[in-house]
Symmetry: C2
Subunit: 73 residues, 2 copies
């Protein structure tokens, strides 16, 4: 079964990549874009989707500073 | 308007992060997971969603080696 995991910095945790993109935008001619957040995406195929939560906690995300969301595709 | 951009290595381009995760899994007790691909995710708010394609090509993705997908949220 195919799944996609979206990993984001937790609310309140610094997001330096997002800030960097936001600051770069006006110089490149893009106005009116804000609230930029950069995270990671992992796509995979799992025989046993019930273990995906554990996989995210242990390997894919850092639960101290990141939230994750599992999408079944 | 909120949007999410998913950025993946193009088909046929090496995905070393995905391979690293795949190799780490059995040692951590996860069997039956394959076809792992690691990419980036950017979430943002845009006043003019028509320019998102241009934004992806110029700033968020490297079109030589990456594909991107825009999701309107």
């Amino acid at each position: 079964m195919k799944a996609r995991v979206l990993i984001r910095p937790k609310e309140g945790i610094l997001d330096p990549q997002g800030k960097a993109v936001e600051r770069a935008l006006p110089a490149l001619g893009f106005e009116g874009i804000g609230n930029v957040h950069v995270g990671r995406m992992v796509e995979l195929e799992a025989e046993d989707p019930e273990r995906l939560d554990e996989l995210c906690e242990k390997l894919l995300a850092n639960p101290l500073i990141e939230d994750y969301e599992i999408q079944h595709l």
